[in-house]
């Protein structure tokens, strides 16, 4: 009685499924009909997760858009306090890291274990380098009292000459708004850095598994999905860099 609904004769699809079964991987989960289905489900799930991430960052981008329109002078002046060379270097580091990851995914697909491990290690190294540069930048902001909160000081923006900064002084009211800029800077890059750190932890785990040879027999879903995540983190930075560092660096300025 239970199988009564399956009275339909075996269709083409079911026959194909049966053919596949003898070659199933140990990672094949019982509730998927085929490995193809499992792989598609995994990567589709990852894309959806990245969609939620976009919405998550989207809230902050929305806040940025609003306040940048309202307080453009404060945003421009505060943005000049960031180091464009460091930011640009970090962009390059992150793109290189992303490139290594992409090569890693390819290496997994062609089942080259050592190359995969090497690429994952390089991805990790560049990721850590990015975090290092970021930490240095944060430290500088700490010394300048540019971290929002009780310790925040607008002195540099009200009287830039006293600090040897070549900027037009802002009136105190507008200078206060630099705190919003720095808050958004820390919130957005901080949230980005949190994603990087989570990624690096996952990279350690994936490197370990890759070394063991988990991904050398055609099962590449974790590498592929992590690659998607890592590229997403890259792309977020590619938006953050111009929005935060390059606000008023257009030719007309």
């Amino acid at each position: 009685m239970d199988s009564a609904i399956a009275t339909h004769p075996h269709t083409h699809e079911t026959a194909v499924h049966a053919d596949h079964e003898h070659a199933s991987l140990p990672q094949h989960r019982h509730h998927f009909e085929t490995e193809e289905q499992q792989r598609e489900a995994g990567s589709f799930g990852m894309w959806l997760f990245l969609l939620t991430e976009i919405m998550f960052f989207g809230g902050m981008f929305f806040a940025y858009l609003l306040y940048r329109n309202w307080y453009y002078p404060a945003f421009a002046v505060a943005s000049n306090q960031l180091s464009v060379p460091l930011g640009a270097a970090n962009t390059a580091i992150l793109i290189t890291s992303g490139f290594c990851m992409a090569v890693g995914v390819w290496a997994a697909e062609v089942r080259r274990r050592k190359m995969l491990v090497l690429m994952l290690v390089l991805t990790t190294v560049f990721g850590i380098a990015f975090i290092g540069v970021k930490a240095d930048e944060y430290h500088e902001k700490y010394e300048m009292h540019h971290i929002p909160g009780a310790d925040f000081s607008v002195a540099q923006f009200v009287n830039p000459a006293a600090y040897g900064i070549k900027e037009e002084p802002l009136n105190p009211d507008m200078a206060q708004k630099t705190e919003i800029y720095f808050f958004l800077y820390f919130a957005m890059t901080g949230m980005h850095a949190v994603h990087m750190i989570i990624g690096i932890v996952l990279l350690f785990w994936l490197t370990h598994r890759a070394w063991r040879g988990d991904f050398s027999s055609g099962y590449v879903a974790p590498i592929e999905n992590f690659g998607l995540y890592w590229h997403f983190v890259d792309i977020v930075w590619l938006f953050l860099f111009p929005l935060l560092y390059l606000i008023n660096r257009h030719p007309l300025h």
């Binding site: 079911t14 799930g45 809230g59 009780a150 919003i180």
Partner: protein
């Protein structure tokens, strides 16, 4: 088989010979750990059902306390700030810990893989993780409660939540942040499952409408909830570090919080109601013995609700100083979102027309849903009109409006669904007459509670106060009396459903003679749901197919 003059479609196996199946998902493995570490969507559904029932009764207890305080005009039961904590807890628990996960995490979890002909959801471990996140969120909420409560209202309005309160705002915000991820994972799992796990022959337009409405709700969960998460992170940072993003003194804008919060929290009401509408589609079709009228219109109206639902959030902010022009646009969009809801109601009504209607308990709840949701929805249109909104907002009219949708609509749908699928989930029937009594009690109690609140609101009684002018007392007493009846209405199912677990009649595979795939397998189902992968060779709600199938079985056996 049965005579046409019977008043029920219920067909149970002969109780003297019927037995529960030997192996099913409930007894497949034993021990607490086999439950706590399970990947089986059906077991996770049961875990969720137990947890949300627990939180429902805690939230309900606060509703009871609120109504008790409002029995008299004087503030005599509790002080003003305690009352604030009561309604905050009532709101947080009912919304985030009951309504949002109610149907999707229990019935949806249980049924979506089966309805699609799959063995499980796409990501069983993430499904279990979602339940644990829910539990952590729930525990933190209880912690906030035990440590002294929180009194922001469930909306965490800034600057009240960031500057003026020294209650446990952070604990509650963390709780909701975490519970939010539980909801994201449920939605993500559903979407992937619906896209990738359908059995051969299960095209999109052969899926039951229950699945369609969960698909739409899942889209909202996945797209909306992260925005709530970031809004709560910003509130927490503002509270801890005073970073100024919502603080006008530092150039921040409290309205930004409102935009971010309602960008989730308006779609959230559709997260709550859409799965309920899915239940109603199934129930109405089964108990009228007819295919749902305008299947594709109902399916698309779910998606339309999800889509429009994202563009109406500002109607929560009409009196907060938003621009008049944008208010006009949002008012118009609010009217538009009523259209797909109306399509559903009309289509269900046409499904009833010339159907062979029977009045089993799930159908009674479904009728309750249709009436009460219609009132709730139409009063929503009143509130969407700018002039009326300014008069009625922040009064009990609002309270009555969303309780008609959420309690009259969603809770009725939830109970309809629980009764409808109870025989499938447990293998046993609930006592029929007692459950009909509960359905009627709930309906009467509900109307007695909330109809007076429409009048109170129209007369100008503001919400969120623990005291009120004496001339409002009569209506408030009616409302409190109604709440008592309602409480009884909700206690009854808890008792008789518990009783039926051991003493209920054995239900058999398909007690309602329904067409869904879930009714063609044993009750309770085996862990893998199907013995072999089903092939869907007919449309959804095809009662002729079911009849032929039943006939064939009889001939084969004979």
């Amino acid at each position: 088989m049965s005579a046409p003059a019977t008043h029920t479609i219920l067909s149970l196996p002969d109780q003297s010979t019927a037995k529960m199946p030997k192996r099913h998902y409930l007894n497949n493995e034993d021990g607490l750990l086999s439950w706590l570490l399970t990947g089986d969507h059906k077991r996770i559904a049961i875990l969720y059902l137990i947890s949300i029932t627990f939180f429902f009764f805690i939230g309900g207890a606060f509703a009871g306390l609120i109504r008790l305080e409002l029995l008299t005009p004087q503030p005599d039961l509790v002080a003003a700030d305690t009352y604030n904590k009561f309604f905050t807890m009532h709101g947080i628990i009912m919304i985030f810990l009951f309504l949002v996960p109610s149907v999707p995490a229990t019935l949806g979890n249980f049924l979506i893989p089966i309805m699609l002909g799959a063995k499980d959801l796409a990501f069983p471990k993430i499904n279990l993780l979602s339940w644990y996140l829910y539990l952590i969120g729930g525990t933190l909420t209880l912690a906030a409660l035990v440590l002294g409560g929180v009194d922001t209202g469930w909306t965490f309005t800034t600057p009240l939540s960031t500057h003026y309160l020294n209650t446990h705002v952070l604990t509650a915000a963390t709780a909701i942040f975490i519970a939010g991820f539980s909801s994201i994972f449920t939605g993500l799992n559903f979407i992937v499952t619906i896209h990738r796990m359908r059995c051969p022959g299960m095209t999109w337009f052969r899926m039951p409408l229950f699945v369609w409405s969960h698909y739409a709700a899942s889209l909202l969960m996945v797209l909306g909830t992260p925005v709530l998460a970031i809004a709560l992170v910003l509130v927490a940072l503002e509270r801890i570090a005073g970073i100024g993003v919502f603080d006008p003194a530092k150039g921040g804008d409290p309205l930004l919080f409102q935009h971010l919060f309602w960008f989730y929290s308006h779609p959230a009401v559709y997260i709550m109601i859409l799965p309920g509408m899915g239940v109603i589609s199934e129930v109405i079709s089964t108990f009228s013995r007819k295919r749902v009228f305008g299947y594709s219109a109902v399916a698309f109206s779910s998606v339309a609700i999800a889509l429009f639902g994202f563009f109406v959030w500002e109607h929560h902010m009409f009196i907060m100083g938003v621009s008049n022009y944008s208010a006009l646009v949002f008012s118009l969009l609010t009217m538009l979102v009523a259209v797909p809801s109306a399509i559903k109601i009309f289509n269900w009504t046409f499904t009833l027309q010339k159907g062979s209607i029977t009045f089993e308990t799930p159908m009674l709840y479904a009728f309750g849903f249709m009436g009460l949701f219609t009132i709730g929805g139409l009063t929503g249109v009143f509130l969407g009109s700018l002039g009326m909104d300014i008069h009625l907002t922040e009064t009990y009219f609002i309270v009555a409006h969303f309780h008609f949708v959420m309690v009259g609509g969603m809770l009725m749908a939830f109970l309809a669904g629980v009764h409808f699928w109870w025989p499938k989930m447990t293998g046993r029937m609930y006592p029929e007459s007692l459950s009909k009594l509960a359905a009627v009690t709930t309906f009467i109690g509900f109307n007695l509670t909330f109809l007076p609140q429409f009048i109170l609101g129209y007369l100008g009684m503001p919400r969120r106060y623990h005291a009120y002018p004496p001339e409002f007392q009569v209506l408030n007493v009616l409302s409190t009396a109604g709440a008592t009846v309602l409480g009884v209405g909700y206690m009854l199912p808890l008792l008789y459903l518990g009783w039926s677990l051991k003493y209920g009649a054995i239900a058999g595979n398909n007690p309602w003679q329904a067409t869904g795939l879930e009714w063609q397998i044993q009750s309770p189902p085996i862990t893998a749901n199907f013995i072999e992968t089903p092939v869907m060779d007919h449309e959804a709600y095809d009662y002729e197919w079911l009849e032929k199938k039943t006939l064939n079985e009889v001939t084969t056996v004979g």
